[in-house]
Assembly symmetry: C2
Homo-oligomer: 282 residues x 2
């Protein structure tokens, strides 16, 4: 399964994605990354890969609520969760919501509702460091008095351990097969992305933890539920991340907010960690 082009530039830099394929990647209007880089004057001639990197550290807001909830300033990131993305389409029989008796229905939305709750159950069944989400739903024909004949939805499964993530996927596929069989529906399943968990380097975690301690900052180990540039770079060099709290766990949103105290603390830990790594650890 070919991954979608997420954190594309880091992915090319780390050799995860092919440069030519990445430059040819097009948006919905057909504009490619390569053409747009040339158009805005950002297409350089330096090689995108093959650079020697001693280590990589990335500072980021948590994008989740754990540090804020526990009033910790620094998150020592232990790695990124692996991720399975799926597209599911359930097909039943579109029919009139009045005259079709309950026992003769094949309602794709009732099947989808069962699947949404199964996906939620799976995220809770593999705790800690697991989660699961249905983010998109499309109902056809989506009309008030018509029994839905077809429903498409997206499934997002994540876990910090490869073995557990694989079990989550097996559990999900079993649930889908049961819905198909027991509810008279047909299911089409497409794997969209399949990224393994990416643990970070022990030496980087150790340095970040030590610098937080040295600055008297509260801290905890934390796994990144989101993918990051660091996820790709970790394949080619020792990598770590520093999280700071963000308000309500909200990110990619106009409401995103972090305090000056936390941002300053994160930068200081980053600076001191870089110096420490450059000096061979301390």
């Amino acid at each position: 399964v070919k991954a979608v082009l997420t954190y594309g530039s880091s992915g090319v830099f780390a050799g995860v994605f092919d440069l030519g394929e990445a430059l040819a990647w097009a948006d919905r209007e057909g504009k490619t990354i390569g053409e747009e880089l040339r158009r805005i004057g950002y297409a350089g001639d330096r090689a995108a890969t093959g650079h020697a990197v001693a280590a990589y550290l990335e500072a980021h807001i948590e994008q989740g609520p754990l540090l804020e909830n526990e009033q910790k300033t620094i998150g020592v990131v232990t790695g990124c969760m692996g991720l399975g993305w799926f597209d599911v389409t359930l097909t039943g029989q579109e029919s009139h919501a009045g005259p079709t008796p309950m026992h003769l229905r094949r309602d794709a939305l009732v099947g989808a509702a069962r699947l949404i709750r199964e996906v939620n159950r799976i995220g809770n069944a593999f705790l800690p460091e697991s989660c699961s989400t249905v983010g998109e739903v499309y109902v056809r024909p989506n009309s008030r008095n018509v029994i839905p004949g077809e429903v498409s939805l997206t499934v997002d499964l994540r876990h910090a351990e490869k073995k557990k993530l694989d079990l989550m996927v097996v559990d999900f596929k079993k649930a889908l097969a049961a819905i198909e069989e027991e509810m008279g529906l047909r299911a089409a399943l497409k794997t969209v992305t399949d990224l393994p968990p990416q643990p970070f380097a022990k030496e980087c975690m150790e340095v970040v933890r030590e610098q937080a301690k040295a600055l008297g900052l509260s801290h905890r180990d934390i796994v990144s539920g989101a993918g990051q540039d660091a996820t790709h770079i970790a394949r080619i060099t020792p990598t770590g991340m520093i999280f700071i709290p963000c308000e309500g766990g909200i990110s990619h949103n106009e409401k995103e907010n972090a305090t000056s105290f936390d941002v300053t603390a994160g930068c200081n830990v980053l600076l001191r960690s870089i110096i420490a790594l450059a000096n061979g650890g301390d």
Copy 2:
């Protein structure tokens, strides 16, 4: 609660809807029924209400699968189910699908999935002559890696008995309140339409049944899950309906189909019933 303008012309004829309000009814582009009737030359000057009607009979495909499944030719319609239409919006907290731990989520879609299954349960709990459907779902922001913050959906509850329909509505509201409380969501509920069941006249059913027998046609009593023109007309005169089978219960669709045999049979029952009623029954 004001009903939406369904079977509008019959509704005006029977005094269910006001003529002026019906003519002012506008589509999404703002075109009104009154202006469009004038434009196409169909606006007459005869009074729309107050006509004396001795009886009313309507022939129709079943729009459901019962007659076909049981290989019966004529459905003696006993009345139309009552109907409650609702719009529900569930609001939780939109957040990033990766970094937000399961126990800190307020996922509006997981709540909606529970509601969809509750609505389906209610339709099955008040059998026979009950049904329930969620036909439309809108998820916001509807993005693969964002926990849905808001979901809107439509609920359609039907029953042939007023008392049972009221109990279905109570059950539905209870389920919605439980979801709100137990899942940390807010619910907004709007009643869109509230139509009581409409039983048909015993004398019309009797005539239809007798004529089917006289023609040697198999028949059964049946309730109409859909509203009909007859639903409104039944308020002002003795009313009955004659159903014939349709292929797969499919209607309002290019695939709609009925056999010549069944259409002929339905027309013959209609003709003989009209004559019998005109002669004072037989």
